[in-house]
Amino acid sequence: MLSFSRPAARSILMRRLLAALILMLLSWPAAAKDELVIGISQFPANFNPLIESMLAKSYVLAFAQRPITVYDAKWQLVCLLCETLPTLENGLAKREGKGMAVTYTLRADARWADGKPVGSADVVFAWQVGRHPQSGVASAEAFRRITWIDVKDARTFTVHVDRQTFDYNAFGDLGPLPAHVERARFEPAPGEYRNRTAYDQDTTNPGLYNGPYRIAQVVQGSHVVLERNAYWAGAKPAFARIVIKVIENTASLEANLLSGGIDMIAGELGLPLEPTLAFEKRHGGRFSVITRPSLAYEHIDLNLGSPVLADVRVRRALLLALDRDAMTRQLFDGREPVANSMVPQLDWVHADDIPKYAFDTAKAAALLDEAGWKPGPGGIRVNARGERLALDLVTTAGNRSRELVAQVLQAQWRKAGVELKVKTEPPRVLFGETVTRRKFAHMAMFAWYSAPENVPRSTLHSAMIPAAANNWSGENYSGYANPAMDALIDAVETELDRPRRKALWREIQALYAADLPALPLYFKADGFILPRELKGLEPTGHQDPTPYWVENWRWE
């Protein structure tokens, strides 16, 4: 039997206690955080998911509303409220005549936050609201395409649509509306629904929300408080409360983050990339800064009605004379990838084997020579009539990144003998008049926000050229008209076979790159500034925001 002297025994005891204490400290869970405060730069003016379209509203509602389907961070269509994604392969989607029948079954555990089940009646009600011309719904196309909804039971329904399109099972816009709350506000006066909806008259009514959180408080212009939905059957979200604070000034947003007023800045509606990168350099050690290229396609629309730009050789020369790699590397730390067409690399229909325009000044010069633009006085090229190769570019005022890019364009094109005059306009003027009425002389620089596999009908189809005759509808601001492109767009919309569709998409991108109705620049990136302890937030880079997966966020 071993025996110890008293001091030795005490020493062993102390060591064991110390070891136990260290073990206990190591295994102690990170201090739980009950509240997460998120900073965004815009306040949602209203909360009805169907009325008006606003990024701030989509962001806030993504915590509290679950659509039937969304695109995930891998840009794949997935079910959020449905049990199985309907496809032709699994038999839940079928062709019927010229249209389709698509059957969904809602999750059995889906509940509004007042305990009522989310059911087929809520989907049918949303369709009734959406198709009513007076209801004020922003995007009504998806509702108009539906000819009928067959309700099979409380959770299962079949949607009959009037055409066969590749996105037949994407049910994003047509989320359920709580019929038990909203029907009484809609049916007596559909034209007044937008002013009577409970989303704006009784915003904290739990019956309006079916996500992991519900809106518990709204202070107009200041913040929105979200609390856990007691009836949420999915994984329990980590935070008891989420506060979304609106700070419009970007410098104040940063200051609030540094002073602890907010915990994180949302990438969807926070700082532009440039200040995010500057913030990362200064304070990157304290925060996680995540950047992700998005679907926002920064480009220069060319007015093809202008005699100079009607010549494809000039358009190609302009792109060849631009060192876009250096531009994104220098200005955006290489986080915004160079675009070769309007389809980003993350989209499954992206094609790599299309014409590309790597920086090549010799080739650009040769093309300009061939087009009749010879070097002239002051280094600016002139044509046979002695006209200078001088182009006007208009872009949005107050956008620092664009102003910097415009300066780079000016400098690089000058080296190629092209004079560029830059003009900036407030977004409201640019998008309300200059581009929509095709009033720009040569070039307009801005971004298109699209969705995964977004068919460019509105921007490239010849029927979509805005003109007085069609009441300035359509977004083909370049005035691009190519029957081959029209045929490809018509075909790709109705092609349900994925490999054949991918081939059509390749042709679209190749034709776009060859014709260059616009000059592709780069895909913009979202910058998220997060506390180091926050894990599980995965930027999507598309229109479906990160809070759709808020139950995966955790504090470690």
Partner: protein
């Protein structure tokens, strides 16, 4: 006096109708509308949606027709609905109005409490060290851009020293709001102090040269009595005019300060309404500010009568 006030009120009503026409016209002539902007930002919206929404909100009609309809509606005591906020205009406006009144009244009060004594003291010894110091402070106060001053105060007191919150007054209630008010109120007050101090100083110096001041001194009045009872009373008249004109500002807000400090007030509300073509809300907000300025002007007239008996009508 009653007749004068009634006449001024009728004039004010005419000014308000004229202002509503001008404001409506300027908004109506702004190129583009938010539906076009919405389309640029939402790939699911198409041209047909734009046509339908413009018709629904009446944005496809001439602005003169919409203004007449609005005027008739207001004549019946109905301000209508805010298109952006999907609620009655008053419901959208009242919380912002309260916030703005708190911010602007506190800062105005603080500015006056500091500026008027400074201006008076500086005027007593023109050219003295104190006078030069007050002039320096005044010039600095008037010259510093409000957004820069606000951001600097945030950087020093919220980020570096962590003594005060950087904003977010609406997140707390009761006494907790005081801490959130300090920086925005100080920002606005600091930018107002220079203006009021200079006006006060100039008015006091101008009065000091008048005969009645010399007479008061000759009668043996104490220097304090001369300054307070005689000089200050008359010097307050121009200052009152300036302060009265600020009454409109109490209700129209301070856009830059509200934006920097995330203060949900009228400045931001009106700006968003104007940019979003929310005619009902923008017009109500702007006309309220105009009306308050007119009321302030009438109050100033009444104050003149109290301050200067010569103004009284027989």
């Amino acid at each position: 006096m009653g007749v004068t006030i009634l006449s001024r009120l009728l004039q004010s009503l005419a000014v308000l109708v004229a202002m509503s026409f001008v404001v409506y016209g300027l908004m109506g002539l702004m190129p583009g509308d938010p539906i076009d902007l919405m389309i640029a930002g939402n790939p699911h919206l198409n041209a047909a949606d734009a046509v339908r929404l413009k018709a629904l909100y009446g944005l496809d009609r001439p602005w003169t027709e919409r203004w007449l309809r609005w005027l008739a509606q207001v004549g019946q005591g109905e301000l209508g609905y805010s298109r952006l906020h999907a609620r009655p205009v008053m419901a959208a406006m009242i919380p912002a109005l309260v916030n703005t009144a708190i911010l602007m009244a506190s800062s105005l009060l603080l500015a006056l409490v500091v500026a008027l004594p400074l201006g008076i003291l500086a005027s007593l010894r023109p050219g003295s060290v104190l006078d030069r110091l007050v002039n320096l402070v005044s010039v600095a106060s008037v010259s510093l851009p409000v957004f820069w001053l606000g951001l600097m105060l945030i950087v020093v007191f919220a980020v570096e020293l962590a003594w005060l919150p950087a904003g977010g007054m609406a997140e707390v209630t009761g006494g907790g709001r005081l801490a959130h008010m300090i920086l925005p109120v100080a920002t606005l007050a600091l930018s107002g102090i220079g203006q009021y101090a200079r006006h006060m100083r100039a008015a006091m110096i101008a009065e000091a040269g008048h005969d009645y001041i010399r007479t008061a001194r000759a009668k043996g009045c104490s220097p304090a009595r001369v300054v307070i009872r005689h000089q200050l009373r008359n010097a307050l008249i121009p200052v009152t005019t300036i302060v009265a004109l600020e009454v409109g500002g109490l209700f129209s807000g301070a856009l830059i300060t509200e934006t920097v400090f995330a203060w949900p007030g009228m400045g931001r509300l009106i700006y968003e309404a104007v940019m979003g073509n929310d005619f009902n809300l923008a017009l109500s907000g702007l006309l309220l500010a105009t009306a308050m300025t007119l009321v302030g002007s009438i109050l100033a007239d009444i104050a003149y009568v109290r301050l200067d008996p010569r103004v009284r009508t027989p």
